[in-house]
């Protein structure tokens, strides 16, 4: 049997129990009102967990930190020795992930673990990470559009356990073996669902399948227009108000571009980078293939909806809507794609 009930009043105990053996990350509100993932016990208490909204910051950084030392090097008797950074080998659980962010993790897996080369650092973290998600009861935010990208408010992809908010309890559905093992350690707090709760859960699933309540969307038809609009003047017009900052990319759960630099202290560091920065593609010779912000903006949308689809079969966008909510210039990805010409 793989369906349980976790009473909301027992969530704090359950989190603390998980925290004994794992690093548990939960969404909490920070001082400035932003909901972001923090580590239980270190930066957050279980009672502060905030599960009733889409976190403002995706859990991306837990698997792919913004700043990561790849290796340090030292000189021993005048000879260089490279010392790779030891991977973070703690077992991790991200609790309260929204389905879009969970799908994003599956998408990132394709980028970093799929393909010809494996990213050791990502893989080391990913293998030790379990994802416990909470299905959304309709769109979690007015900027959401996950159904348009192949997701759903109750999608299980990328999750190990999926919770449904059925009033005073969470209906617990096991998705993977990893999830099953975690729930075994919580068996004391779990109960059997009542028919009433089953019904409530089915209702959430039905609403999710019908994509009820979503005000934003991108149609496959408008995405297909990208095939012929690469050289369109549209990109000049739409990028006019772009500031070339990195807000959209840094808060995107699937944006994964990075930079590698040697920094003082004899270390090589990998940091997030953004394709919207003007120097992103600049060659040493000063030639820059994407000088204009129109080119950079276009590259971002094409990467998300065309290149990635062509290469891996899926969009590099999960419809979380954060880039819409955070864009200082009010650029709306759904609008931009829908109006492509």
């Amino acid at each position: 049997m793989s369906k349980y009930i976790l009473k909301k009043e027992k969530v704090v105990d359950a989190l603390n129990a998980l925290g004994n053996a794992n690093a548990v990350y939960i969404p909490v509100k920070n001082k400035r009102g932003l909901v972001e993932y923090k580590e239980l016990g270190r930066d957050a208490a279980a009672a502060d967990a905030k599960f009733d909204c889409r976190p403002d910051v995706p859990p991306k950084a837990i698997l792919f930190p913004q700043t990561q030392v790849l290796f340090t090097f030292k000189k021993v008797d005048g000879k260089i020795e490279v010392v790779p950074t030891e991977p973070d080998d703690r077992e991790k659980i991200i609790f309260g992930v929204r389905p879009c962010d969970a799908i994003a993790i599956a998408v990132m897996d394709k980028v970093f673990i799929g393909g010809k080369f494996v990213d050791t650092y990502y893989k080391a973290r990913r293998e030790r990470t379990a994802v416990i998600s909470i299905a959304c009861d309709g769109p979690a935010d007015s900027t959401c559009f996950c159904p348009s990208t192949g997701g759903s408010p109750a999608a299980t992809e990328g999750s190990d356990v999926l919770l449904y908010d059925v009033g005073d309890s969470y209906y617990v559905e096991v998705v993977s073996d990893k999830g099953r093992k975690i729930l075994e350690s919580l068996s004391a707090s779990l109960e059997t669902p009542s028919p009433e709760q089953e019904k409530r859960k089915d209702e959430i699933v039905r609403k999710a399948e019908a994509a009820e309540g979503f005000t934003r969307s991108i149609t496959a038809e408008s995405i297909s227009k990208l095939d012929s609009s690469f050289d369109s003047k549209y990109w000049d017009d739409v990028s006019r108000r772009c500031l070339s900052c990195g807000a959209c990319t840094y808060y995107c759960p699937t944006c994964h571009c990075f930079d590698i630099n040697d920094e003082p202290g004899r270390k090589r560091v990998r940091t997030w980078d953004s394709c919207q920065f003007s120097n992103f593609t600049m060659h040493t010779s000063s030639h820059n293939p994407r000088t204009a912000k129109a080119q950079r903006l276009r590259n971002r949308y094409y990467h998300k909806f065309k290149y990635s689809k062509d290469n891996t079969g899926r969009y590099l966008c999960v419809g979380c809507g954060r880039c819409i909510a955070l864009c200082p210039a009010g650029l709306d990805i759904t609008k931009v794609i829908s109006e492509v010409k």
Partner: protein, 165 residues
């Protein structure tokens, strides 16, 4: 001096503070203008005036060359204090370089303090070519002030902040 040299030096050694036997010995990066203060320092040396060996002198053509970035960089890379010294107002070899820098650096000094970096970590002086004695005094005062403040730990990186796994 060019910006690159200053930064290179900073990158390489980052002037770590030392805990000497008599206690804390501050390291102070001193930017001296070529025409007055550096000559003043020279005179102090030639006249065999004693002053603390805690300063590392970087000669610049004019104190007007001191970008606030140089001060910040020195502090970030671990200098316990920064001293900028130029010609007296009116005596600048380039007429007004020192006056411009006075404006910029006064604001910087205020902002440092507002940021939580003790204002005395950044000091300025006017020392002319003939003021060897004053130069020795300036260095003594600067070192004493910084000694009182203790090591500059503001920009020290904590291991945990460093993105290490």
């Amino acid at each position: 001096m060019s910006g690159s040299q200053a930064a290179k030096g900073a990158e390489a050694g980052a002037v770590p503070s030392e805990q000497g036997e008599q206690g804390f010995e501050p390291k102070i990066v001193a930017f001296l203008c070529n025409w007055c203060s550096y000559a003043g320092a020279d005179l102090a040396g030639v006249s065999r005036l004693q002053y603390p060996p805690n300063i590392r002198i970087i000669r610049v053509m004019c104190s007007g060359r001191i970008s606030p970035m140089l001060v910040l960089r020195a502090l970030k890379d671990g200098a316990d204090g920064v001293l900028v010294s130029g010609c007296h107002p009116g005596d600048c070899h380039y007429l007004k370089g020192n006056l411009y820098t006075r404006r910029q650096l006064q604001l910087l000094r205020n902002m440092l303090e507002y940021y939580g970096i003790e204002a005395d970590r950044f000091q300025m002086s006017w020392v002319s070519a003939s003021e060897g004695g004053k130069f020795a005094d300036v260095v003594k005062t600067a070192v004493e002030k910084v000694r009182k403040l203790g090591p500059n730990t503001r920009f020290k990186v904590m291991e945990s902040q460093d993105g290490g796994e």
